[in-house]
Amino acid sequence: MAMEYRDNEVVFSDIVGVEDAEVLLAWLQGREGVRADFAACTHMHPANVQVLMAAQVCVAQWPVAAVPLEVALRSAFSTGS
């Protein structure tokens, strides 16, 4: 399970593939102040990243075990958290 939705938080783990982007986008619609937890995430397809960026999601946890992903996410969400 690469994505887990809680009240106002989405938790990513392992590899989040391109096909998840549509679901994510649907889930994000109509929500505000959503937080994203990347702690267990190792890679995320940029389609998801851009959905999160467009939804102005706040980052709750940066990736723990994936440096490149963390670096890239930090560059994308530097103002968000």
Partner: protein
Amino acid sequence: MNELLAQFLSEARDALEGIGGKLMELENAPDDQELMTQLFRTVHTLKGNSGLFDFPEMSRVLHAGEDLMDAVRHGEVQYSQDLADRLLDAMDFVSALCDGIEKEAPVSPEMANEAVRQAKALRALIRTTAEPEAAAPSDAPATPAGPALPLAQWLARVPEAIRMEAWEQAQHGSPLVWVHYVPSEECFYQGDDPLHQANLTPGWLWTGMAARAPWPALPELDAYRCMLDFDVLAAADEAEITTHYRYVPDQIQTVVVPPLWLLIPQGDPNGGPVYDDFVEDALGLLESGDLAGLGRAVDTMLDLSSAALWLSSALRWMQRLLAMPVPDVAALRRLVESLHTLQAPAWSEPVAVTVAASSASAKNVQTGNVHAIALKNVIDVQREVLSLPDDAAWLPGRIKAAVASLSGCLRAFGRHSELEALNAAAEHALAHKSAAGLAQWLDAAFPDQAETTSPAPAPEATVASATPAAIAVESVSAAPVAPVVSSVADTALGAKELLDADAPEADVKFGRRSEDATPKSLKVDQVKIDRLMNLIGEMVVAKNAMPYLANRAEAVFGVRELSREIKAQYATINRISEEMQDAIMQIRMMPVSFVFQRFPRLVRDISRRLGKQVNLELEGQDTAADKNIIESLGDPLVHIVRNSLDHGFEMPDVRLAAGKPVAGTLRIAARQEADRVVIEISDDGKGIDAHAVKVKAYQKGLIDEAAMDRMTDQEAVNLVFIPGFSTSDVVSDLSGRGVGMDVVRTAIEQVHGSIVLESVKGEGTRIRLSLPLSMAVTNVMTVESNQQMFGIPMDAVVETVRVPRSAVRTIKQRKATVLRGRVVPLRDLNTVLGLAAPPLTNDSDEYAVLVVRVGDAQLGLLVDDFHETADIILKPLSGVLAGLRAYSGSALMGDGTVLMVLNTKEML
């Protein structure tokens, strides 16, 4: 080779054939929308498939082809001959790539370049023919993509820690490259993951993502339209980067990052006069060359300040600079001075303002990555140093310092050979206590820097600092400029692509899945079918053993009942095995269109090359025959068609003068006649001049005078099948080397086919090929000779007769007999095979004569007795036996014996 790849290659070839064929059809019906759409789809599918593998060259060319087809499909580009030529060219290239892949040969750089060239050529067609307004946007991106790559701004996005790491890497000699990667909006559909790609960049240090445009509201957002730009900082050669991004060369821009540019202090600008004191102290220390003191001051200041301050960031960078083996004083000074303004030093501006620095700092100016300016600065300063009066006590030190700097420059710029001259000049200078010699060497070695030197008075110093400014911009942007210029066009196209792709692409995208759902046919490796063939062959042999068994049951064991049952069972098995055999034959059957489909292209190419006009008519393309037969047809047919085009058809003006239509007609028709496939190739060209052929044959010594007179026209034209015969006096690249028709005949005869040529001078030529439907089962007649059984293919057998010994005459030591008024030469099979026994006669003293057809002649073979005919599976002789030309093969009979099948052609 893995299965997927093998399948891809096989499909690719099919697709390429299909593309060629459709282009041909389009030539006749350029406005056929349906055809155009099919063509586009084929190219599109092929491109998509090629994307599954690591063939960027192929994908690139196909992509360009696809774009072109798309433009044609939408009427933006007019279909033209030129366009067809280019596309065919490109498809040939792709075919060549397939060949390379099959041979598992790596793609050579030439091929890669060719791919780029092909893609460009195809894209050029879109550009030149497209509407002017379509061309307009191609200029637009040039402005933003121009020399003003905002590298400094980009670098500011990189966190300090990573920039410091990059700095470390640069200090260890690794080049730093910035990659600005703008993936196409469609890239997600193509299965790309740009982030993954970016993160896997060789020497990866940092990836940045940024939105290309302000985000739309969520409901309007298309998650699968890539709206992100990627930036990567990497410590790697540009070449490595280019290789990594070789699939998307048009989507990246690379810039070499001068290490100094990394020095961007960032943080809380909260500061005040405290800094001013520090700045003054630091400048003072720099002035006096007390770097150690400066280091201590920096360390203390850093301890006192909060780490988040802008000041602290600058101080940390000063530490880095001071940690260099030869600290860059100029850079340090700028950094220190930047504390005044709390603005990062604009490293893109030259460091040259330090020209007036003390001689001590001179040797410290490092040959940084801003090569040109740095070198210039160093040289200028050295020149100034050397031009100082020679009376100072520290002159030797000064000279040594200058020499050290200069040799460093030479090494850095790879001018190692000049080091010796420098050392010689230095020794000379030291010995004579005069720097003049060295200064002369300097002027000679670096003449291009000479003009801006001259012992600089104050105003000129500013000029000097201004001039390098221009150079600086130039040198920094020099690297990106070249790729940018070349990529401008592609970027523009990319943009256009996106525009085009909007609506029409959508149906293709979403229709794709359902198309693939149910494959209607299987692709089976031929080896598997062949195996099945062999098995059924063995089964037929095993089955044929049953009648023998039944006979034995009756004759040897006397069980009549059992014999009958075995026979009944045999009938059943026989029926099933025959059906099976037939079914397998059906699998192997292929339509002749497999061979025919190459002709439209061939005829078109050749006739255009020769300047002739030829219409090709193909008929009976569905006629099917065994795969081996069809495949063996390919080369002979190509030969015949080429001959026809080259020799057969006249030039348009000649045709017109002869009262024929300007365009000639080449007809290739296939049909089935009983158990044979007949293929007729006819043209309405000038035909064959029977008389000329006769004369030519006579001149070449192929026939004698008597034969020449006797010969009918029909016989004469068939002389062209004699090896070494060619009527054309000119050897063209198409035909005329005299290896034509005899090769054709040999090839046809190899598959037990026959060839007949008819020609009427001035009216045309007709060649008729007759081939068996299948070679799998051969019907042979068995004969006995010297107590051995031999098989003769039924299609060679004319008749079997009994000839009384008295009717056999000897003519010139050869036996012959007269059959129905015709002389038939006789040969003793035993003699032919080297058996000592004489032929036997029957009770009425008659010889058994098997009359066989050998080419056009007939020959009587004297055998001992005739036996039944049999269906056999003929296996060619292998190993050492393969050299025995007297036999065409062997077969296993039902009773387990081996039947040798004679090759009648060798009997004459």
